[in-house]
Symmetry: C2
Subunit: 141 residues, 2 copies
Amino acid sequence: MSHHLNVSRREGRRAAGERIEACPVTPIGDIIFSRWAPTILWTLGQQSTLRFNALHRLIPGVTPKILTARLRQLERDGLVKRTYHPDLPPRVEYALSDLGRSMVPVLRPLADWGRQHMPDIEIARHAYDSARAEEEAWVNG
Amino acid sequence: MSHHLNVSRREGRRAAGERIEACPVTPIGDIIFSRWAPTILWTLGQQSTLRFNALHRLIPGVTPKILTARLRQLERDGLVKRTYHPDLPPRVEYALSDLGRSMVPVLRPLADWGRQHMPDIEIARHAYDSARAEEEAWVNG
DNA sequence: CTGGATCCGTTACGATACTG
DNA sequence: CAGTATCGTAACGGATCCAG
């Protein structure tokens, strides 16, 4: 998955009696855990086709290097189609493949959950940090 | 996002007229993009509570170090509850919070998509690699 | 023995600059 | 316009070590 893409997928030896369904998300980890992949898919899903620099402008924070790397990965995975037009200046258009388009709706529940619960997470973080700070102050007397 | 957790979330300046909904997945990237976070959430979702080493055994491939780090993060985010029992030997139990439990079903569509389309992705990868290899052979004469 | 922490190497990422 | 080159950072993976 992006970093650590080359993970040893060795089988886990299960103790007898332990019977838990393996995490079903793991297989697509390579896609989902990549830093910008979901954002790229989402953005391409909003616009039928986009040129490299357009995509770059629409995704603030990503650098050309990373954007290139993710697009190549998504192209290899068959989620994105890259079309090179040998014009002057050169023109390259990116679009979702059918496979890529099928993934976009899947991101929805994730996004909805985020919108709904992000505030709770922020609160939890502040609470945790406060508790840790207090704890530390107590130790340092 | 685990790696690169400390990402500058600077606003992107949009060119006038470009009107695209920002990727709604980004806000929960810190949670979802972490290498083991979904797996941990999923595994805890199957079992009401689990001890550290039990969790370790159930998630093959993760090292104690990483497992600890992710559990701390998820605890800070309010998704996981950590309970320390000062027994001998010591006992630490991990379980999902209500917030954490609410996230598990969200992973479903992702998992289903993966099960359905993973073969297509494998095929696309082989096709891409073959094309590249052929191309290279052509260049090298 | 359990629940970690430390040391060290690898690799994805990020920032800036430069090129066909 | 569409990337590539170079460099530094930080999250991960493996192995080992440690305290209660």
